[in-house]
């Protein structure tokens, strides 16, 4: 694993982007890594595009924001429009399959598409678990944290009644990504 | 023919469902993104409840 992973999750208010980022960051910490998690706050995020960012590293993380993301995951068109501009070559973009007509991408960005919203809504019957499906997909693709840590992180981050559902969501996303990668091999 | 024309500015709609629930004549439904949609325009009786309660000024009911 490279020295530092910078991940950005984008969506609209209510999609649980921040919670997703927290689950990811907490999992990294459970794995014994360092992590920082930040987000855009306040009325601006109301309605418009929200982002939440995570840095993961084995070393001390100094600059805590994401200046140049390795991975961006977007659940809304607004997020795609706003948060992908600074993606460097070699970085990865994960889009929800429902998104269309987004902006052109910077050179050298690898794009994946997964129907994360649909998976949450149709397969799990709960659109609110989109964020954790997304974390599963992201981790399935990039292997940032151990799945064990991810699940413990979910257990920490949610009220008891929601833990199982979210672990299921995580696994659903994770499996989808693993299967895709298997298939792509 | 219907006496009223129900104009809906979807661009402003935030899917709150207030119009859907308050219209006494069930004129509104939801589209697949959750936004309001005029489904029974002909039923409109011009009571303006929808117009006055839409928090986002999406609706205008006109006499034809």
């Amino acid at each position: 694993m490279a020295e530092k992973y910078s991940i950005r999750l984008g969506g609209t208010g209510g999609q649980g982007i921040i919670k997703g980022a927290m689950v990811l960051a907490e999992a990294a910490i459970i794995d014994g890594k360092n992590a920082t998690q930040t987000q855009v706050y306040g009325p601006e995020s109301r309605g418009g595009a929200t982002k939440a960012e995570v840095n993961i590293s084995n070393e001390r993380i100094l600059f805590p924001l994401v200046s140049s993301p390795n991975i961006v995951l977007c659940l809304s068109i607004g997020a795609w429009q706003t948060f992908t501009k600074d993606m460097p070559p070699g970085s990865t973009l994960i889009l929800d399959s429902s998104l269309e007509n987004g902006p052109a991408l910077p050179e050298g960005v690898t794009v994946y598409r997964f129907p994360m919203i649909k998976m949450a809504y149709e397969d799990l019957g709960n659109i609110l678990s989109t964020n954790i499906v997304a974390v599963g997909v992201l981790n399935g693709l990039m292997k940032l944290v151990s799945s064990d840590a991810a699940e413990r992180s979910i257990a920490i981050g949610f009220k008891k009644t929601f833990v199982d559902g979210n672990i299921k969501a995580y696994e659903l996303g994770y499996q989808a990504a693993r299967e895709y990668l298997q298939a792509a091999k | 023919m219907a006496k009223y024309q129900v104009l809906l500015n979807k661009a402003l709609c935030k899917s709150c469902e207030i119009c859907v629930e308050l219209c006494p004549k069930k004129v509104f439904g939801r589209d697949k993104t959750g936004k309001a949609e005029v489904v029974n325009a002909d039923n409109c009786i011009g009571c303006l409840i929808c117009e006055e309660h839409c928090p986002d000024f999406c609706i205008e009911v006109r006499e034809k």
Partner: protein, 376 residues
Amino acid sequence: MVEARLVQGNEACALGAIAAGATFYAGYPITPSTEIAEQMSALYPKKDGKFIQMEDEIASIGAIIGASCAGAKAFTATSGPGFSLMQELIGYAAMTEVPIVIVDVMRAGPSTGLPTLSSQGDIQQARWGTHGDHSIIALAPASVEETYLMTIDAFNFAEKYRTPVILLLDEIIGHLKERFLITPDMMPPIINRQKPQAGQEFVPYKNTQELIPALPDFGEGSRYHVTGLTHNEQGFYSSKPEIVESFINRINAKIEDNSEEIFRCNGYNVEDCEVLLIAYGSISRSAEEAMNNLRREGINVGLLRPQTIWPLNEALIGDACCGKKAVIIPEMNLGQYAREIERCAPDDVPVVSLPKVDGTMIFPSEIEELVREVLK
């Protein structure tokens, strides 16, 4: 606390306050400090503490001063607009020597400004916001763990020196979530206010050599009077010039004369560097990253990272600046701390302010660029 967790700066502040022994919180919500109030409202009812949401920030600081008189370690949290409103009573606490902690999570100002974005714009206000001459202690942590530990320091200083202490978080630190693990060896000892010695005549505001009065809490038996008027050793109003003077000098001296103890900072390559960065709070992290990057390039940069903003250890800073090709102060304001460095640094050392007030954090690259430019 054995396992590392993901904790937010504001949350660490709340936990630190509890660890310091604080049992009273009064506040009025304001972004980006609100999580501290929310934490206390959830924690205190379960931990023998008291939480109250007051009608405004003035009432909030009033309530914590009252609570402190009654024996509680008490604190409040706010941001710029609320901090401005608290100024009168910060002066009152300084004047009456009541220990309190005020957390100011700095957002971009002036006025309502940019409620959700970060700044370090209240550095000078923390020193000069209230009328009249008083000294102040202000601290600025740079990480979530440091927020926890320095919240404890804040209470310790408040109790030890019987004075209001300002904890300056910038919004980035307040809202940052990161790895958090406090082990017992990291914990500072907890300091409690000194009480009058039994058997000795009780003179509430006696001007002893230590300069700090030993006062009982209300209810402990030695009744006394607390007033924001200039007062004599007995605590009653006096306008006698010699009394006023010795009083005002004492409440200033008890802090300024101890600036060596109170001023804490970390240094990295301070002595042998060519260019010295001085940075605090979140921006010290950008500065450290910039330093690391530049050193990799072979540029000899050092970093002085004050944890204490006020009082300044002017001698220490002056020495640190001595002989440098340049001293650069990146900060999220228009050079508020740089003014002080300018004052302390020798004339022949260029003191370069790197100000930023657009609500965004200073990136390491911005510092790197300036260093390179300055060295040209």
